[in-house]
Every structure is written in structure tokens, then in C-alpha cells.
Symmetry: C2
Subunit: 425 residues, 2 copies
């Protein structure tokens, strides 16, 4: 009966090829999204994966859940909601609106969360519409077994301390900024190490220049001179270590993604603008829904009056009310379309951008790993070079020969080898 | 004729078994000196060598010089003296007295050096009596091919700057004190190194405690934590290095022969006392020689007078003069004996002590060599231990896995995996 009040229901079904729900299910992910992912620089690996995922047919039967989403579905429900898990948590803390399929379209406005016991087909939380947990069709993750950012940050989170709400996307952005901070702090750490090495090298070099025991002679003197030379070499090894640490570890760590903060701000604005648009369109939907409800109420009231012949309302009045109701229905349909377009756009950008952020994080970790490897490599080399500075000392120490040194010294300092003899008379 | 004036010439020859000249020639070195060398702690090697040398018969004929002393003899002579070499140098710069065998016993006193063209059997320089270069019997070195202290420091040396004379023995003492100074300066050098290592270790340890990038998570976070742990280990390696440097290199170098200066002073006093005694006895000899000359002159004058019958001198007068002359001859003989005993004692102590100093120098060089080896050993170990501190970092870096880290982080921070769907009417 109410179905007849919505003449555009079929029209809406006809557009389902580009609907959000189609985009959200990987096996039906449209080509334009894949192309967009490519354009936005998603690594080939990710791309290939998406291709596979997009057209992959689920191999597990509905009764044998394997993916996290299936596990979530298998949790016990309390009062129609999951008793645990992030979604049920958010059902209790965020602004939400439940919607019954083919039932009374009236719903509380934004900012007045309520719960309903009856089965609903969708639930709108903070202006984002999710399938209702109880009637939800099984969703395959976009990137199964991959713990991809694009799969786990659809809901918002209420911060316990500030009492404010943070979006899933913002949580990823915070992670990115923290990653950048870690990278900066590692560079700082390496900088400290460089300073320590420079000081050490400076002190060793200074000591190597010391005149101490410089008068030692012979083979022992040569060994001692080599001790100092080797110390100078050792100082040099540490100076080179510090210099290479700077050019090959500190600088790359410091300069890697200098514009990350700016880039993140852009991403942040981009996604939050889309969320704002979505909110605005949600408000429009709710307004149109309210208007339609009023028109419907008015129409039904007038039909009742005509049927009861309780008033002198003419068929003309009913026609007029029906036209206004149809117009309000059209308005709502248009608003819902616009809302869904907005949500679709936000969804696309969320997938694209979170995959990009995921790629950036992989790159960051790889970059840091690579430069820490470079650090250990330089440390290894430093030890090896240090070893080699000592070798000449060892060689000369093996040649130390007290008798040679005595010969050298005696030759230089002898006063006379003619021994005294008895004086004669 | 003059020979008859010296009735004790034969007596002197009879005592030649214990004469200085016998002691000075190795093949006739007396047993008591060898025993004394043993008692004073001369190494068995030196002892054996002396035994061999003592009884060794010279194999080279006088015409085929091989030892340094033979080479010295083959140098061209100018005015009866060698034109170069330390001995001829000292002939020109030191107080000396030449003595003709069986010729006029008169000689200039101490402090009035002269040269004579005729062949002399001995030459006394600074109260020490040497064989005359022109009439010198071939001397074998006490320790041939060994450049031993006991063979090359018999003469004194005039210092060009201070215009003072330094004995050969004092030159060896100066070498000993310089050696002690070198040893002390090496310890000082090592002390500086210890300080540098301590500072370095302190700075590394402090950096290892830094909270920088401590919030890094997952496998990368583990690697980073290990970077810090390894740095702490590295600091520890350097601290241990400095500690071992102190106990195994610096302290032994510093404490080795703490009483050396005192010991050298004792040696110095001992030998210089013997030289003073020798000088005093030389003065006595010269005085006795002068007295004898006067007595001889008086006797000969009186004999002349009796023969010429120019005076009324009686045979009694001649007898009296002859008795006085004989008495003066006995006095001189006694003085020369005492002088030779003194010189013999000095010679013995010179050989004993210089061999001891030579042994000390060998020990010093060996000791320093050993501790520099210990230094390089500790350096090697430090490098090896340092290498091993880096290994755990390398291992963990190999395990860095961005996807694992993402899984960990996503599990902790995910907000919701349920994707949005189209809002329905």
C-alpha cells in the first residue's frame, strides 16, 4: 500500500549499477574505481590485487565463515545488535538512524539516536549509511587477509577523553603523522650518534698528535709511532663513519617526505569536505523525508475524509494532495540520490586515499628499514676498518727486538770500546 | 841503565795473574768475576756467553781484522794517533797521561795533557788507564757481536754544551731514566685513551637511553628498540675496553719499576765512588812518581859527584840516597798496585752493572712490547664485540615486515570493517 506512494522505487533500482552497494562489494567494483586507483599511484601489486579481488568469486560457502567479517557475523547478538565488536560499540555511541526497508520512512533526525527492536535494512551513523547488522548481506573484504586500511576504518570513533568524534580516516592520518615524527626522531637519534662519533674522532686524532713517548727509539719506537699513526687512522675511520652516517642515514631519514604534513592536510581537507557534503545531503534527505511524511499524512487524511464522506472535500483536493505527495516523493528520491552520490564519492576517495596512505606507510617502513640496514652496514665497516688500523701495529710489535734497539743506541752513544789495562810503573 | 833504578819491575810482572789487563782480555777473565756476574743476577744466557768468550781462542789472525776493535786498529794514524774514532777523539779532549814501557817514568801530572811521538804502552785519560793505540795488544770484545753495554762505554765523553765530562756509565744511566720516562709517557697516553673511551661509552650509553622514536611499533619498532639496546651494548664494550686498558696496560706500564730512579741513583753513586777512589789513587801514583824521580835525580847526581871526585861525598851518602830512591820506588809500586786494584774493582763493577742495566733495558722493551700487544689485543676484542652487538639488529631488520606491522596496528586501531551502503527511500 505504502509502496504505491513511492513510484520511483523502480527507478532507483534501475540505477543500481553505479550504486554504493555495488562499489562496496569487491566482485562488482566498477572499472572507473580501479582506474582511479591506478591514476592515484597505487602500486602495481595493490592494483593487481584489487583486480583479483574485484573479480574473485568467494570460495567459502556462507555457512563456513573464514574472513573477519564472517567471524563478526557469527558473534552472538543481544537485542538484535552484536554484543561486541567495533560496530556495535559505535551503535551505542554515535548518532545513528535506522531504516526499515519498505516500512515507514519516518526516522529521527540527525542528533537524536534511537534504537529499534525490529529488523532494519540500513543504519545511518554520523550521516554514513551502513547495512543493518541483523539484515546485512555478507560483505567480502576489499583486500581479504591483508589488513588493509581500506577495509577497517569505515566507522568513526568517539574519543573518551575529549568527548569528540574522530573519523577512521583521521586515525590513519594520525598514524601517518606519528610515522613522520618517528622518522624525524630516528634522524635526531642518528644526529646525536654523529656528534658522539665526531667528538670521539676529534679526541682520538688529538691524542694521536700527542708527543708523548715520542723519544722512544729503535724497533720499539717504530711500534710506538705506529700506535699513534693507527690511532689517527682509527680517528679517521670514526670521522668517516660519522660523515657517512650523516649523508647515508640521517639526511635521507630527515628529508624523506618533507611535505608529508602538507600532503596529509590536503588529504584531510579533501575527505572531510566530502563528509561535510554528505552530512549536508543527509540533512536534506531528512528534511525531504519529513516533508513527504507530512504530505502523505495530509493525503491519507483527505482520502479518509472522502471515503468516510465526512467532509465536502472533492476528488480535486485528493488529486492535488496526491500530486504534492508525489512531488515530495520525487524530492526525497532526488535528495537520496544526491546523498548516495555523495556517499559514493566519499567511499571512492576513502578507498583510494587509504590505499595510498597504506602504500606510503609500507614505503616509510621499507625506507627506515633500508637506512637502519645502512647504519648497521656502516657500523660493520667501521669495525672492519678499525681492525685493519691495528694490523700494522701488530706487525711492528712482532719485529720489536731489544738487541737491535741496543745495537742502534750503542752505535750512536758509545764512548769507547777499548778496555782499561793495568798501569805500569 | 835506568832499568836498574826499578828493582820491582819483576815483582810487578809476577802479580800479572790478577792484573787489570788480564781481566780485560776475555780469554783470561778470572773466575771470581764470572761468579760475581752470576751473583748479581746476570741472565744465564749472558753467563754462558761469557764462559764461552772467556775461554775462546781468537781464530782470526792479526792481519785479518773482523771485530770492531780490529777495524779500529786498521784506521790510518796521524802523528801516532788514530785520526778518527772515539778513542782518538778523547785523546784530544780529555785529561790524559801517556806512559812509555821501560822508559823515563816521568810524566805530566793530572790536568796537563800532552802528546808524544814515541811509542807508549798505556795512556791514562781522566785517571783511567788504557792501552796505547799504537802498542795495544788486540782486545776481544767481552760479548762479541752483541753490542753489549759492557763493551762500549769505557771512555768518558765531553759534553759540547755544558763543557762538562760525562762518563760512559752515566750515559747508560741517562738512557735508563729516559726509558723510564718513555714508559711513564706511554702510560699517560693510554690514560688519555681510557678517558676518551670512558667519555665515548658514557655518551653512547646516554643516547641508548634516549626515548627518541620509542613509539615506533611492530617489527620496525622491535628493530629500533634493538638499535638502542645494541648501542647500550656498544657503550658497554667501550667501557670494558677502557677498564681493561687501565688494569692490563696503563697500570702495569705505570707501576713497572717504580723504584728505578732510586736504583739508578744507587748505581750512579756506587760507580762514581769507585771512580773517585781511582782518581785519588791516581793522584797518589803521580805524587809517588814525582818523589821517585827526585830521589833518582839526587842519587844520580851524587854518583856523578863521587865518580868525578868533584866533591867530598862519601859512599855513605850514595848508599843513603840509593836507599831513599829504593824506598820511593817501593812507594810508587805500592801506589800503582793500589791504583790498579781500584781500577780493577771499578772495571768489575762496570761490567757487572752495565750488564745488569742491559738486562733491565731488554726487560723494559719486552714489558712494553707485551703491553702494547695487550693493547692491540684489547682493540681487536673491542672490534669483535662491537661486531656482535650489531648482529641482533641485523637479524631483526631482516624480519621487518610492513604487512605484519599494519596488521598489528589495524587490529588495535580499526574503527569498523562494515562498508557503507546506499541509503534506501
Amino acid at each position: 500500500m505504502i509502496g504505491s506512494v513511492h513510484p520511483l522505487a523502480n527507478h532507483n533500482q534501475g540505477k543500481s549499477e553505479v550504486n554504493m552497494i555495488d562499489l562496496a562489494i569487491p566482485k562488482q567494483m566498477p572499472a572507473f574505481l580501479i582506474i582511479r586507483l591506478c591514476r592515484s599511484g597505487i602500486a602495481l601489486k595493490s592494483f593487481s590485487f584489487i583486480i583479483e579481488t574485484t573479480w574473485e568469486r568467494p570460495t567459502s560457502a556462507p555457512g563456513t565463515p573464514k574472513s573477519p567479517i564472517s567471524q563478526m557475523n557469527s558473534l552472538p547478538t543481544v537485542n538484535g545488535f552484536h554484543s561486541s565488536g567495533s560496530l556495535s560499540h559505535h551503535l551505542e555511541t554515535s548518532h545513528m538512524a535506522l531504516r526499515k526497508t519498505n516500512s515507514d520512512p519516518q526516522s529521527p533526525g540527525v542528533g537524536s539516536p534511537t534504537r529499534r527492536q525490529s529488523k532494519e535494512s540500513t543504519i545511518t551513523i554520523n550521516c554514513v549509511t551502513f547495512p543493518h547488522p541483523d539484515t546485512m548481506p555478507e560483505q567480502q573484504l576489499l583486500k581479504r587477509d591483508d589488513w588493509s586500511y581500506c577495509d577497517y576504518f569505515w566507522a568513526d570513533r568517539k574519543e573518551t577523553q575529549s568527548n569528540s568524534t574522530i573519523t577512521g580516516f583521521e586515525i590513519i592520518l594520525v598514524k601517518q603523522l606519528k610515522g613522520k615524527q618517528m622518522q624525524k626522531e630516528m634522524a635526531e637519534f642518528i644526529r646525536e650518534r654523529i656528534k658522539i662519533e665526531e667528538d670521539y674522532a676529534k679526541n682520538l686524532a688529538k691524542l694521536a698528535q700527542s708527543p708523548l713517548a715520542g723519544m722512544e727509539e729503535g724497533t720499539l719506537g717504530e711500534s710506538w709511532t705506529q700506535v699513534k699513526k693507527s690511532l689517527a687512522d682509527e680517528a679517521d675511520v670514526h670521522l668517516k663513519f660519522s660523515s657517512k652516517l650523516q649523508s647515508e642515514v640521517e639526511k635521507p631519514l630527515l628529508s624523506f617526505r618533507e611535505n608529508l604534513k602538507k600532503d596529509m592536510k590536503k588529504f584531510d581537507h579533501h575527505i572531510s569536505d566530502l563528509r561535510k557534503q554528505l552530512s549536508a545531503r543527509y540533512v536534506a534527505v531528512e528534511k525531504a523525508r519529513k516533508a513527504l511524511a507530512e504530505r502523505q499524512k495530509d493525503l491519507e487524511f483527505k482520502i479518509q475524509q472522502v471515503e468516510n464522506k465526512s467532509t465536502n472535500k472533492t476528488e480535486e483536493d485528493i488529486k492535488k494532495a496526491r500530486r504534492k505527495s508525489t512531488q515530495a516523493g520525487d524530492d526525497l528520491t532526488r535528495c537520496v540520490d544526491l546523498y548516495n552520490q555523495s556517499q559514493s564519492k566519499w567511499f571512492e576517495e576513502m578507498v583510494t586515499t587509504t590505499l595510498e596512505l597504506e602504500r606510503l606507510e609500507v614505503e616509510r617502513i621499507e625506507m627506515i628499514r633500508q637506512h637502519l640496514c645502512q647504519y648497521t652496514q656502516l657500523r660493520h665497516e667501521t669495525d672492519m676498518f678499525n681492525q685493519s688500523t691495528i694490523e700494522p701495529v701488530d706487525k711492528l710489535l712482532q719485529k720489536v727486538e731489544p738487541s737491535n734497539d741496543r745495537e742502534l743506541w750503542v752505535k750512536e752513544h758509545k764512548t769507547g770500546h777499548i778496555r782499561p789495562v793495568d798501569m805500569e810503573l
